[in-house]
């Protein structure tokens, strides 16, 4: 009996239990059971407040919210992590995540500010630094245009990188529509701007509505129906203004869609997910001053 008791090691059992729970959380995350993964992570952190997986799990909780579609809570969780663990070796990967969330919500300036923090952090790996730099270039390209981004690529020493070269080539091949041209065309002939944007049915709607109302106005005044003419004119002002606004708005939406799909295509190789978070480990960093 005494011998059997001596074989029992409660510490080892605890560690095993913790590892099992962590493995189960990873399984849940991979299966996309995000709400369960959050609950299990909270359970593990409650049972083992000093767990060596603590930082990993806090980030994973944020990831669960982000992948589950609750970006606001994900933001909150990541920000909490940054403020509560300023010395964490996983901080660069959290900066990447926050930057990606801002990039997804088209807040490029805020995203760039987070990506810029990564190269300055001593825990950042080469891979993370390159990802951050590439994100900065991609977002500069989308926000400020090709010239600015090409200038910045030299600053970041990435102007000879093949991936960056491909990115610039791919961006140059995008066909953007000019809001000014669309608006002017629609002002000259209702529907022409929409036709320029390949919105054929919208063009037909704008042309017919404006045409009918203008015809009605002309007929009304011709036949002495001044009141009807005035009422139709009031509506025609709305149709005409709406037609121009619709063309300009459509051009901006077209460009936004092109940029979004370009960003999504490019960011596949810059994928930022839970798999990037590694378990904290000892690193040796040299500084040459």
């Amino acid at each position: 009996m005494v011998m059997m008791l001596s074989l029992y090691n409660p510490c080892q059992a605890s560690v095993l239990e913790e590892e099992n729970q962590k493995a189960f959380i990873d399984y849940l995350f991979q299966k996309k059971y995000y709400s369960q993964a959050i609950i299990e992570s909270e359970r593990l952190l409650f049972n083992y407040p000093e767990s060596r997986h603590k930082h990993y799990l806090l980030i994973l909780i944020g990831d669960c919210y982000a992948f589950g579609g609750d970006e606001q809570t994900a933001h909150k969780k990541y920000q909490e992590f940054i403020s509560e663990n300023p010395d964490s070796p996983l901080l660069p990967t959290v900066y990447l995540r926050v930057g990606k969330l801002f990039a997804d919500s088209r807040n490029y300036k805020a995203a760039i500010s987070y990506f810029k923090k990564i190269p300055t952090n001593i825990f950042s790996s080469d891979n993370e630094i390159k990802k951050a730099k590439t994100w900065i270039l991609l977002l500069t390209l989308l926000d400020e245009g090709a010239n600015e981004a090409k200038g910045k690529s030299k600053e970041l020493s990435l102007d000879n990188d093949n991936y960056i070269q491909d990115m610039f080539k791919s961006y140059d091949s995008l066909v953007f529509k000019s809001p000014k041209i669309a608006g002017t065309l629609s002002a000259i002939l209702p529907g022409a701007g929409q036709l320029y944007l390949d919105r054929n049915r919208d063009a037909l709607t704008a042309f017919i509505l404006n045409g009918l109302f203008i015809w009605g106005i002309v007929e009304s005044f011709d036949k002495g129906n001044t009141a009807t003419g005035i009422i139709l004119s009031v509506f025609e002002v709305g149709w005409y203004g709406g037609n121009i606004y619709s063309a300009v708005n459509g051009a901006y939406k077209h460009n936004r869609k092109l940029k979004d799909s370009f960003k999504n295509r490019m960011s596949i190789q810059l994928n930022i997910g839970a798999n990037n978070a590694t378990i904290p480990s000892l690193r040796l960093v040299y500084f040459f001053d």
Binding site: P179, R201, G238, G242, Y252, K253, R256
Partner: protein
């Protein structure tokens, strides 16, 4: 047809406005409307009139024909929000723009599932059409 009825109801409301309704009476009339969540009146009598037309459309026309709009929010709700947020002039432009860009919108805006109406609709809120001039 619905557009025509909306225009008629607008004219009807203008006529009504000439005879009786003051801005305050119209405000109390519109405040009873059940379909729009955000209750904001103001921006002058023209905005109140436009909102009154939307009220008539929602309560007397749409109730009979049913909601057929393929977008979310529906055109009348969108219009009401536009008038509430931007006043008469921009609200009118946004409303007419919305009525004209319904056909090809699915190519540039996301499609979402609406639980209330139990079908997929094109998500085209106010911000989707003002993002380029209002940050």
């Amino acid at each position: 047809m619905r557009l025509f009825l909306l225009c008629v109801s607008f004219i009807f409301l203008i006529e009504q406005g000439n005879y009786s309704a003051s801005a305050g009476e119209l405000a109390s009339f519109i405040e009873k409307r059940p379909l729009v969540e955000k209750e904001e009146l103001g921006n002058g009598p023209l905005t109140a009139l436009a909102k009154g037309a939307i009220y008539i459309h929602q309560n007397f026309i749409s109730n009979v024909y049913g909601v057929e709009c393929t977008m979310e929010p529906s055109c009348s709700r969108y219009s009401y929000q536009a008038y509430s947020e931007y006043g008469f002039f921009i609200g009118t432009i946004l409303t007419f723009d919305r009525l004209m860009h319904e056909s090809d919108e699915r190519y540039v805006s996301p499609v979402v599932f609406n639980k209330e109406r139990r079908k997929y609709l094109i998500h085209d809120g106010i911000k989707n059409n003002t993002f380029w001039w209002q940050k």
